[in-house]
Amino acid sequence: MADQTETSREDGAHRPEAPGVNDVNAWFVREVLPLEPLLMHYLRKQWPNQSEIEDLRQDVYVRVHEAAKKQIPQPAKPFVFRIAHNLLVDRIRREHVVPIEAVADFDELGIAIDAPQPDRSVIARDELRRLQAALDQLPPRAREAVVLGRIEGLNGREIAKRMGIGTATVSAHLANGILALADILTGEGPPQERKS
């Protein structure tokens, strides 16, 4: 029953033309991914098992992306949180045993949706600084590989030579760096300490 709201938009007699995959992907990157800090905050608060949060987040993304292939929902934010809410409800129904707080708290959803968006000009001004901060959070070898590749513009073989390690190890460091950067950059909260 809860899923009905997700799909009800397309039940009309005149079904709008489905958007192209690139449009959906672009929308997803532009509108959905920036919601990640709020989404993570919401999931962490609502779901007792913190080791499942990442899986839940990715499931939310899949549901959102799949739904957007039929029609891109506007605005994105309430849609994403409704899907997250429905996913948690489904999981609770399936797994049954969930500490009661998780159920009782569901209606705090509104708080997450109403949280203010960071000012876009602030984001732009601080982007470089934020990227450097993110870089500094990487494990040292991953940081070194990413800096050599991204800032000095070396390719994989050159990085391996410079670091004096094998190409497979370079690949692993780079992949780790990319993964960690996504968590830091996408999962970060709004820039609270940078007001003004």
Partner: protein, 322 residues
Amino acid sequence: MTESSDQTPSPARAIAQSAADWIQRRQFWDWSKKDQAELDAWLAENPLHLVTYLRLEAAWSRTERLAALNRPLSEVPRVAPESRNRWPHMRAAVALIACCVGAGGLWFAQKPKENTYVTPIGVHETISLADGSQIELNTDSALRTRVDGNRRVAVLDRGEALFKIKHDAAHPFVVIAGDHRVTDIGTQFMVREQGARVEVAVLEGSARLESANAQSATLKAGDMAVVSPHSLVVTKKPEREIANSLAWQRGMLVFSQTPLADVAAELNRYNTKKLVIADADAAKAKIGGTFPTSGVEEVTAAARVLFGLRVEDRGNEIVISR
């Protein structure tokens, strides 16, 4: 960053690792048409692959700006770590607590710990125990489980529960409700606690009932016992009647020739908005049918239509009168 550090990676994390590998391969190593085709195939294989890739790629493309720095490593200014170190610890602590709560009944784990389960009004839950037993906890109920010597013990502090017990003669399963106890002998049984009065109905197998004042009876499938401080009465119930009394498992209540007062009392167990029957004659009106546990409106509609009773919604309660 990672809440589940030294376990095997979660499914999402494993996919993220693959996606990160694709991104670095494409960016830093020789990239052929064949590689691209393989990547496309991987992306098309599973929507999780695609969204994961999009997420990593979006963050990674942001780091392109770093190229603008193009200065030696030593000159890339470091940002002080600030207070961010405090957070991973906090999260770890939160995760640990959540795990303990979520782990449920590990009956024969080393520590003699007690698990508490509480359902709010209108909610029922299935508790799956590690020994294979299942407990369905009905609305507004509280249950504690623990291991006591060789016995598996469940204390029903409030409400109603259906026990589907994996029988184990070496580890008897005992349910305690209002000082009475029920011991399973390979069983499915229902226990409902109503203050000093406790009802026990056996659906399958048999169970031994001992009342607080040491009366006892062996109950077989179809037996329903009512125990109060001074009496123990066992009656045989038709199978259907017992099944009906457990319709709450499907979120339903089944009434048959039931006085409106009893219907209201039953519904009130499941709903915060209480039904009040303000008239003695109205209370005796009999209703039958299957209603959802949240079906206050259905019942009030029946009262209005069938008996011409007055229904008044006062916000936190609904009053039915003549």
